[in-house]
C-alpha cells in the first residue's frame, strides 16, 4: 500500500490515532455504534449476495455478474459519507452503495440477467442513478447534474443539512477515457459541488493500473485545479472520513474534489473473466490478507462487538441470498412489446407502427405475443 494513502484503520483493525490523522478522527468519533455496525452489516451482506449472484450466473440465470468482492470498504465508507440529499452516479460495481441508497439488489440482478437496461428510478431510490456500462460516460452526467445543483442554488448556502452534493464513481481504467478528463474540466470550470470517487482496484479487466498511469492517479486532479486525496480503500473508516469531508467541502461551494481509494478487485472482472490468465497468486494473497471486511470485523471485535452480532449479519446474508435466489428463479421474461416501451417519451409514429406490426405478426402464430 502506497504511503501517501490516508489510513485510519491498521490492517489489523486498530484505529490509528496519530497526529496526521487528527483531522479525520473526529468524524469517526461522531459515528454512533449503530452506524459502525451498519458499515459492517452492509459489507458482509452484500458480499454474501455477491457470491450468490455469481452462482446464479454460472447456473445460467444471469447474462453476467459483476462482483464487488474486495471493494466493499471503499464503497461502504463513501456511500455512508453521502447525505440523503446527495446524488450518486455509480459505474457498475457499486452494489454496496446501491443498497445503502435503497436499491433492491434484485434490480441489479434483473439488469444483469438481461431483463432490463436500467431497473430503478433514481428519484425513488436515494438519488442513486443507473449503472453505466460505457466506461467513464457517467462522469459527465454527474458533472452536468452538479452544474444544475449549482445553478439551482441548492449548494453553497452554508447549510450542510440541505446543501446538495454529487458523488460519482469510476475505476482506474476509466481515468484514461477522454470523458473523465472533460468531466474534470467542466467541474473545475463551473466549480461544481461534486466529488470524483475513483476506486483504483488495480486492474481494468486484464490490464494493470500501471498501463493507465505511471503516477499516482489522485495527482491527476491537481492538474485541473481540483483538490485530490488518496485513501486506503480497504479501510472503511478512512474512505468514510475523507469522502465525507470532500462532499461537505464541495457542498459548501469550495469546488469539486477528487478521492482515489486504493483497493483491489479480489474476484474476476466479471463472470466472463478468468483472472488466472493474467495475475499472480502472490498479489491475490497479499490482498486477501488485507480483506476489508476482515479488517473491519477485527476493529469491531476490538471494540467489544461479539459473536452474536456477526452471526446475525451472517444470517441476514443467508436470508438475502436465499431470497434473491428464489426471486430470480421466479422471474419471467418481459413481454415482447417491452422493446418498444419508452424509446421516446412523446408518441412516435415509427415505434407505434412497428409495435403494431409485431403484435399482428405474433398474433398470426396464434397469439403467443
Amino acid at each position: 500500500m502506497a504511503t501517501d494513502a490516508i489510513r485510519l484503520l491498521s490492517p489489523e483493525g486498530v484505529l490509528i490515532e496519530s497526529e496526521e490523522n487528527a483531522a479525520w478522527l473526529p468524524l469517526i468519533s461522531a459515528l454512533s455504534e449503530q452506524q459502525l455496525l451498519d458499515f459492517h452489516r452492509q459489507m458482509a451482506v452484500i458480499r454474501r449476495f455477491d457470491i450468490e449472484a455469481g452462482n446464479l450466473q454460472r447456473q445460467g440465470q444471469l447474462a453476467l455478474w459483476i462482483p464487488s468482492l474486495g471493494q466493499e470498504a471503499a464503497q461502504v465508507g463513501s456511500g455512508y459519507a453521502a447525505r440523503a440529499q446527495d446524488t450518486i452516479f455509480p459505474a457498475y460495481r457499486e452494489h454496496v452503495v446501491g443498497r445503502i441508497r435503497g436499491v433492491d439488489p434484485m434490480r441489479i440482478i434483473e439488469l444483469l440477467r438481461g431483463q432490463d437496461h436500467g431497473g430503478w428510478d433514481p428519484k425513488q431510490h436515494g438519488n442513486f442513478h443507473l449503472y453505466t456500462l460505457v466506461i467513464g460516460s457517467q462522469s459527465l452526467h454527474a458533472t452536468g447534474y452538479a452544474m444544475g445543483v449549482a445553478f439551482d442554488g441548492a449548494a453553497a448556502t452554508g447549510d450542510p443539512e440541505r446543501d446538495e452534493a454529487v458523488l460519482v464513481y469510476f475505476g482506474d481504467g476509466a481515468t484514461s477515457q477522454g470523458d473523465v478528463s472533460e468531466a474534470l474540466v467542466f467541474a473545475a470550470s463551473y466549480q461544481t459541488p461534486q466529488v470524483f470517487f475513483l476506486q483504483n482496484n488495480h486492474w481494468a479487466i486484464s490490464v494493470p493500473v500501471a498501463t493507465q498511469s505511471r503516477t499516482p492517479l489522485y495527482r491527476r486532479a491537481a492538474g485541473y485545479g481540483v483538490a485530490g486525496l488518496r485513501v486506503d480503500g480497504n479501510d472503511a473508516l478512512a474512505a468514510y472520513a475523507v469522502t465525507r469531508t470532500a462532499l461537505d467541502e464541495a457542498r459548501a461551494g469550495l469546488g469539486p474534489r477528487f478521492v482515489e481509494a486504493l483497493t483491489y478487485r479480489m474476484g474476476a472482472h466479471t463472470t466472463s473473466d478468468d483472472p488466472t490468465k493474467y495475475r499472480d497468486d502472490a498479489e491475490l494473497e497479499y490482498w486477501t490478507a488485507h480483506d476489508p471486511i476482515a479488517r473491519f470485523e477485527a476493529f469491531l471485535r476490538g471494540r467489544g462487538v461479539g459473536d452474536d452480532f456477526f452471526a446475525s449479519v451472517a444470517e441476514e446474508g443467508e436470508d438475502l441470498a436465499a431470497d434473491v435466489r428464489r426471486r430470480t428463479l421466479a422471474l419471467e421474461s418481459p413481454p415482447a412489446t417491452k422493446i418498444f416501451d419508452h424509446v421516446y417519451t412523446d408518441p412516435h409514429p415509427d415505434v407505434a407502427e412497428q409495435r403494431a406490426w409485431l403484435l399482428a405478426y405474433e398474433a398470426s402464430f396464434g397469439g403467443q405475443a
Partner: protein
C-alpha cells in the same frame, strides 16, 4: 408577419423558448459573449445571464454529456455544436447515452436535450465546416432529427423541438441563415415532424430538406418552363419521416427524385428511396432516383459546386425519371 433571416428567426425562437420556460438553457462554444459564430444566440446572454447561456469549455463530449446530467436535474439544455464536422467527438454521448437514456430509465425520466448543428455546404468554408451528417443521427433510434428550410419553420420548429420531451438533433442549413423570409411570430406551426408540399405538380415528386428545398424550387421552376410539372416536398423531419404526403404525391406522379447534400451511400435519401420503392411500388413508373453528394469526403471549397447537387443535376435526374 415580419421579415427576417433564419438566423434571426432562430434567435427569436430561442428567446421565446427561454422566456416560456426558465429550465431552458443554452450551452456551447462561443455562444455567450460572442453570440455564436453565426450570431444565432446574439443578445441572449445579456438577456438571460451566464447561467442560462453558457460559454462552455472546448469539448463537445463534455457539452452533450453534461447536458444529459442537466436534463436529469430537470433542465432543458439546448446545445450548439459550432459546425457539423465537430459533432463527432460527442458521438458516443449522443448515441450510447442521450439516445438511449429514456429507454434505459424505462420512462422514469425524460431527456429533452436539443442539439443544434449548423450544417451543410454552399458557404465556401474549409474542411469540416460543410458536412451533412444527418444519416448518422437518423439511423440512431431514440433521437429525433429535423431540419427547417425557411425562417418561419426555423422559428416554430426550434420551439417545438425544445418543448418536446425527447432528444432532438436540430440541423440548421447554414447557407440559409442569411436570406430573409416571412415569419409569422404568432403562428404556432405544424407538428414538428410534418413534411409539407411546397409546390404542387403532376409529373414528378422532388423530395429534399434544408438548403436543398430552395434548390428544388428553382429546379421545379425551370422544369415548368420546359413543360414538366414537378411537385416539391420539404421533408422537414428526417426521423421520423412523415411519408403520407410523399406517398400521396408519388402515387399521383409515379416518379420521385430524392435530393440531399450528404453522400449517397446508406443515407436518408437511401431510406426514402427504399421506403417509397416499397410502399408506392405499384404506382412507380420509374425507379426512385437519388441526387446526392458523391461518396467522397466533402471536397475543398473550390470544388463544392461540383460536389453539391444543383439545379442542373436535379434536372438531369428528372429527365432520367421521365425517360423511363
Amino acid at each position: 408577419m415580419t421579415t427576417m433571416t433564419m438566423a434571426k428567426a432562430l434567435n427569436e425562437g430561442l428567446r421565446a423558448a427561454m422566456r416560456a420556460d426558465e429550465k431552458v438553457l443554452l450551452m456551447g462554444e462561443d455562444i455567450g459573449t460572442l453570440g455564436g459564430v453565426f450570431r444565432v444566440t446574439e443578445g441572449l446572454k445579456s438577456e438571460f445571464g451566464p447561467r442560462r447561456v453558457l460559454d462552455t469549455p472546448l469539448a463537445e463530449s463534455g457539452i452533450v454529456g453534461s447536458a444529459i446530467g442537466l436534463a436529469m436535474r430537470g433542465y432543458r439544455p439546448v446545445c450548439e455544436i459550432q459546425f457539423d464536422g465537430f459533432v463527432y467527438p460527442a458521438f458516443d454521448q449522443i448515441t450510447s447515452q442521450l439516445a438511449k437514456q429514456t429507454y434505459r430509465h424505462g420512462g422514469a425520466q425524460s431527456f429533452p436535450v436539443v442539439i443544434r448543428i449548423p450544417y451543410g455546404g454552399h458557404i465556401g468554408a474549409v474542411e469540416h465546416h460543410q458536412e451533412s451528417p444527418e444519416a448518422y443521427f437518423a439511423h440512431t433510434a431514440g433521437l429525433r432529427v429535423v431540419a427547417p428550410a425557411t425562417p418561419h419553420d426555423a422559428y416554430w420548429m426550434i420551439q417545438e423541438a425544445i418543448a418536446g420531451n425527447d432528444p432532438v438533433v436540430f440541423l440548421e442549413p447554414k447557407s440559409r441563415y442569411w436570406p430573409k423570409g416571412e415569419v409569422d411570430l404568432s403562428a404556432s406551426g405544424a407538428a414538428l415532424h410534418a413534411s409539407r408540399v411546397v409546390r404542387r405538380g403532376t409529373d414528378v415528386t422532388l423530395i429534399g430538406h434544408g438548403a436543398m428545398v430552395a434548390t428544388l424550387l428553382d429546379a421545379a421552376e425551370l422544369a415548368a418552363a420546359e413543360g414538366v410539372s414537378a411537385e416539391v416536398v420539404d421533408l422537414r423531419s428526417l426521423s421520423p419521416i412523415d411519408y403520407a404526403p410523399i406517398l400521396e404525391s408519388v402515387r399521383r406522379t409515379g416518379r420521385a427524385v430524392v435530393v440531399q447534400e450528404a453522400p449517397q451511400q446508406v443515407s436518408v435519401g437511401s431510406e426514402i428511396a427504399a421506403t417509397v420503392g416499397e410502399r408506392a411500388f405499384y404506382s412507380l413508373q420509374s425507379p426512385v432516383l437519388r441526387v446526392s453528394g458523391y461518396d467522397t469526403p466533402f471536397p475543398p471549397a473550390k470544388l463544392e459546386g461540383v460536389y453539391l447537387p444543383d439545379v442542373d443535376r436535379i434536372l438531369e435526374a428528372v429527365d432520367r425519371a421521365l425517360a423511363h
